[in-house]
Structures are given as C-alpha cells and as structure tokens.
Symmetry: C2
Subunit: 356 residues, 2 copies
C-alpha cells in the first residue's frame, strides 16, 4: 500500500443507503421543503443559467438522458433513464445519479444517487408550483397513479400546500393500498377510490402521475370542473401524455421551459404558438399565476435540469451537517500533477496489482 | 442496519487506486495494446454508432465536457475537464470519469476513473493510427511536450509501432528529466534535447503534446522534412493549436470525425472544404493511408467519444479477470420497484439516520 491519496483525489459520494440516512435524519418533508427553497432561488435567477436541451440515447425499451446545466460558477448534470418495462425484472423504471462540479477547476464536488433524489425534487417542484397556482385553502388532492412517485407528491403537498385529504386511484388497487399503508402515520387521510371520477370528487388539486409510455387519457374533459389545479407529472416524453387535449384548451398552462415542454409535455398535443406561462416568471412576479376562482390552472411538469441542479446544491450543502457520505477515490492526484505515469510506477513499486 | 441491497443496486466502480492495480497487474503496454484493439474494432463498425457532438460548459479557466455515444446496445459517456492553470494549485489539467450502461435497461454496468484511462486511450489511439500512417520501420520518435501524457505516448509507440529511440523536448527541462527517469527501465533509449529542432533530428515520427490553451507554433514549416508522420495531440479545442498552417497544407491529414476536428483540431486553421481522410476508412480499407515515402502524414487527434467507449468496454471486460473493483451502492433497489418510499421508511425503522 502506497501513501493515501490527498484530499484533492476524493469526491463526496452519497450512496442510496446514505441518501436514506440523510433523508430520515433531516426529515422527508423538511428535505422537500429545503429542495423547493433551492428551486425557487434558482428559478428567480433563471437568466443566469445555461439552459441546454437534454441529450437522449433511445432504445426500443426506453431512453437514457444526460441533463446538464450551469450557472457560470457551478456545473451540474443528471444521468437518468426511463424504461417502463424494467419493473418486470425487478428494476426501477427511472433511476439516476448526478454530479455537481466547480466550473473554475472542473473538479466534481458531489456525486450522488438520484433515484430517490429525483422523486423528492419532482414532488418539491410540484408543490412549489401549486403554492402559486392552486386555489387558496386547498385541502383535498386526487392522485391518479399510485406508483413510486406518489408518496413523495402527497407528502410535499401536505407540508407545502396544506393538503390533508388524499383521494387515491390506480388501475392496480394494490398500488393504492401500498400508498395508504406507507402514509398511515403521515397525518394525511387517505381514501382509496375505485374510479378516477370517484378520486377527483371534491378535489381542489388533481395530480396525475402514471407511467405508461403512450398517449393515454387519464382525464377526459367532462371530468374536470372549473377552479381546480392540475399537477400533470406523467406526460414527460414524446408520445407520452395523460390529459385529453380539450382539457388543455380550457386551462391556463404553466411550464418550466417551453422549448422542452412542447416536445415532452402534455402540450405536445398543441401547436407551438399556444400561449403558455413560464413558472419562473410567476415566481418573479413578472406573470400572473391564479387570477380567478373559476380558472383551471395546469402545471405541465416534465422535469428540468435546473431542478436537479437545485437538488444537488441542497444535498451538497446538507452533507457537512449530517456527515452521511463517503469519499470516493475518483480523481487521480499525483504528487506532481505533470507526473501521472510516475504515480502508476510508484503504485507498482509499492506492490499494488502485482501479477498473480 | 437493514438488509443489504440486492445485486441490482450495485455498479462496479474502478477507483484511481484500482485502475493502477488493473494497469500494473495486466501490464501498462499490454493494457494499451488491448484498448487499441477495442478502438480498432469499434472504428470498423463506425456506422453503428450514434455520434453526438461533445456538450461543453465553458468558464474563463477552462471547460467541462460530456462526451456520450452509443452503439444501439451499450451507452457510454465520459465527463472530462480541461483547465490549463489547474496545475498551479496541484490539480490535474485534465481529469475525467466515465460510465458504461445497458441501453435496454438504462442501468450502468461500469463507473470508472478516466484521468489515467484517458491518457492510456489517447496513447493507444495515436499508436494505432501510426501503425497505418507512419513510415514502415520507424524507430525514432520526437516528443515535444513532456507532460502527463508523454510517458504513455512513448510506451504505446514502443509496443505497437516498434519505436526504440525517443528524442524529448519540453520548454521546462525538468519535464524531460522526469520523462527520462520514468522510462529508464522501459527498454526505450531517451535523448533529452535542448530545442525542438534538435528533437526532430532523424525522427520518423513527431509527436506534439503541449498543453497551453492558445494558438501556438510548436512546429514551423521549415522544421518538417518529407516522409515523416506527425502525431498532433495537443491542439484539441477551439483556439488551441500547435502546428503552423503551412505544415497542414503540405500534409495528408487524417482525423477521427471531421465535424469535430474542424472545430477543435489543428485544421480549425483551414477552411471546412479542405480534404481530410477519416481514420475509420483507412482501417476498413476504404481509403488509403500512407502511399509514398515522401508523404507527410498528419494525425490531427482531438479525442473522440467512441475511443472512450472502447476504453470503457475494455475495462468492463477486464474486471472479471483482475477483480480490482468495488461495488458502489448507486441504484435504489426496493423489494417492490413501485415502492421507493417504503424502502426509505424501512431504512428509518431499522434505525438508520436517526435524528441526532
């Protein structure tokens, strides 16, 4: 064994196990409130970000995407996949990891799992938008699609919007039972519903978060009454939507980044000159959010790189408080930066990797 | 502590320490010969790759780039930075890491350091091109720029091209002394030269691998005689070149991927209709390599994503033989893939991350 690498060689790494420890020690709801605060901060300085399109690699079974962005000081990217059939083999539909780096040196300062973190940031982002768009005093949320993302959505809307009643529907009743069991001690009242129509009865907020990769119609026009806020999560790639087009035509539509949402979101069903409002402008007071009790507001969520950047920033800042991370020997750090091969030689001479 | 994550949660990880163990157990030269074989294989199926441009994030101090590609079955990307002033603070100018994934599931199958691996693949790639382009029976190589990449270049040209004599020049004589010391037992004869003119005396191959981020003229036209092969490594981003334009006009120029090389390589000094030959076509017998003894051949190397993909494939296939890797708990793997939050709850109930 040679001498240990110096501090410059190490990158803080948050494994799945450590992400859960960070989450449980800080509190799941507090964690999402924290991410939402960072997202709001970053959306308020929207114009300082280099907004790049996602870089996709497609396969018949799904897609792998790289989502980079930077604010001129810090660079972040997420690796994320979407493979709807993965669950048949016991794998996750969506997994991910992410990296945050200093632009001035190019050195990573955080490497983390993002399967759990993406669910948290998606829910935090939804609840943040609803704070600006949902009817004041909303207490009841319908949630259609009760898969891996749904628990996080319910808890974020509880802590950030004040939701107390959840009306849950899934084509698989077991999914709803699972959701109700997980939220049993959360302070939320959960009603398992037999139909989508039943679920949206009396709800001020309707969250759709289904997973099929196809054009689906989870909500039809006659199901949606005036005055509700729709939080549409599941329509998030070309060919995958959840809402009937007529609902879109009756709604005031709010999006993260129009260039991306017209490709990936519900509004891929509309022409690109259809009016939409950018959320950052609502947060900044440059555009109106909800303006009347009758208005249907729709957040057409597709997930944007800046939200991942915010979540990565939040985790980076949290780690010194919790200590739940490892140090990964990721960066070669020779004594003399010009002598990479000398480091290899010294490792050999120290007996590492001797021929078996 | 709850139950351990299943095998699906883990991604094989090669740290810097383990990369050195892999390298020293397999042999540095054999490792580069192996990578070159994989690069040649991949270049021979050039048209099966999705060739994307690099995705850069620029700062005044340097650049961070993501370099993705896929062959329809496997996806790979490299994260790499280039920050010339990093060495002043004891950091590497270029560091990197990479990931290889199954396109059918989106799951990563390898995560590895790529600072050392990039130096290896760059040298392997240079020597592979020289096998096709350098004068037959080349014995002497001049190497101008004796930094972190130079040792690897010398060893790759020894094992793949048959070079026995190295003539080394650097503006910093200490760099040449370092190179000579590292290669003392390599079987190569090293001559340290006082000027670039001295270095190229009698050399059949001239390798330029300097690091300044600017238009430089490491070689002027009158220095380069007929019949040589120039292996130009250092000109690899906009605004950074090493060769006088007149040399380019006298040479037959070979490139990895013209779309990229006209932006990043020496040929950024030429108009985009200047004739160049794609290396993969030479390997495939579709285009001529060296055709005469008088010809100056120039490999204008910028580094292409497929070469990293080949290096990642090589490492993936090597690991089962050496065992020098760790398993990283990177992917959330709940018992029920639809129950991500349940996994968090069970971790909490098992006492992980209790509030301090």
């Amino acid at each position: 064994m040679g001498k240990l690498p110096s501090e410059l060689a190490y990158v803080p790494f948050v494994s799945v196990e450590n992400m859960m420890k960070n989450l449980n020690s800080y509190g799941v709801e507090e964690f999402m409130v924290g991410i939402a605060k960072y997202i709001e901060e970053d959306f308020l300085r929207w114009e300082s970000f280099d907004k790049k399109p996602r870089i996709p690699a497609h396969a018949p079974q799904g897609v792998i995407e790289l989502m980079p962005t930077d604010d001129g000081e810090t660079f972040g990217f997420k690796y994320v996949n979407g493979h709807p059939d993965n669950t048949k083999e016991g794998r996750q539909t969506v997994t991910g990891f992410g990296v945050l780096s200093e632009l001035s040196t190019g050195y990573p300062v955080l490497f983390t799992e993002m399967t759990i973190l993406t669910a948290l940031r998606t829910a935090a982002n939804s609840a943040l938008a609803a704070k600006y768009l949902a009817p004041k005093g909303s207490k009841t949320m319908a949630i259609i699609g009760n898969g891996a993302q749904s628990d996080f959505q319910c808890l974020a809307f509880k802590s950030m919007v004040g939701i107390t009643e959840i009306r849950a529907y899934d084509i698989d009743p077991e999914a709803s039972i699972r959701l109700a069991r997980n939220l049993a001690n959360s302070g939320l009242n959960i009603t398992i519903c037999k139909t989508p129509e039943d679920a949206i009865e009396g709800a001020q907020i309707i969250t759709t978060v289904t997973a099929d990769k196809k054009y689906a119609t989870i909500l039809t026009d006659n199901m949606v009454g005036s005055g509700v806020h729709i939080n549409a999560i599941g329509g998030d790639c070309p060919g995958k939507t959840e809402l009937h087009k007529d609902i879109l035509l009756r709604s005031d539509i709010f999006v993260e980044y129009p260039e991306q949402t017209f490709i990936e979101g519900e509004i891929q069903q509309l022409s690109e000159d259809h009016p939409v409002t950018e959320l950052w402008q609502v947060y900044a007071g440059k555009a109106a959010g909800r303006t009347s009790d009758e208005q249907i507001t729709l957040f057409d969520s597709v997930g944007f790189a800046i939200e991942d950047f915010s979540a990565l920033r939040f985790v980076r800042d949290l780690l010194p408080k919790t200590g739940y991370f490892e140090k990964l020997d990721l960066l070669a750090d020779p004594d003399d930066p010009r002598d990479l091969f000398g480091m290899v030689l010294r490792s050999r001479d120290a007996g590492n990797g001797a021929v078996a």
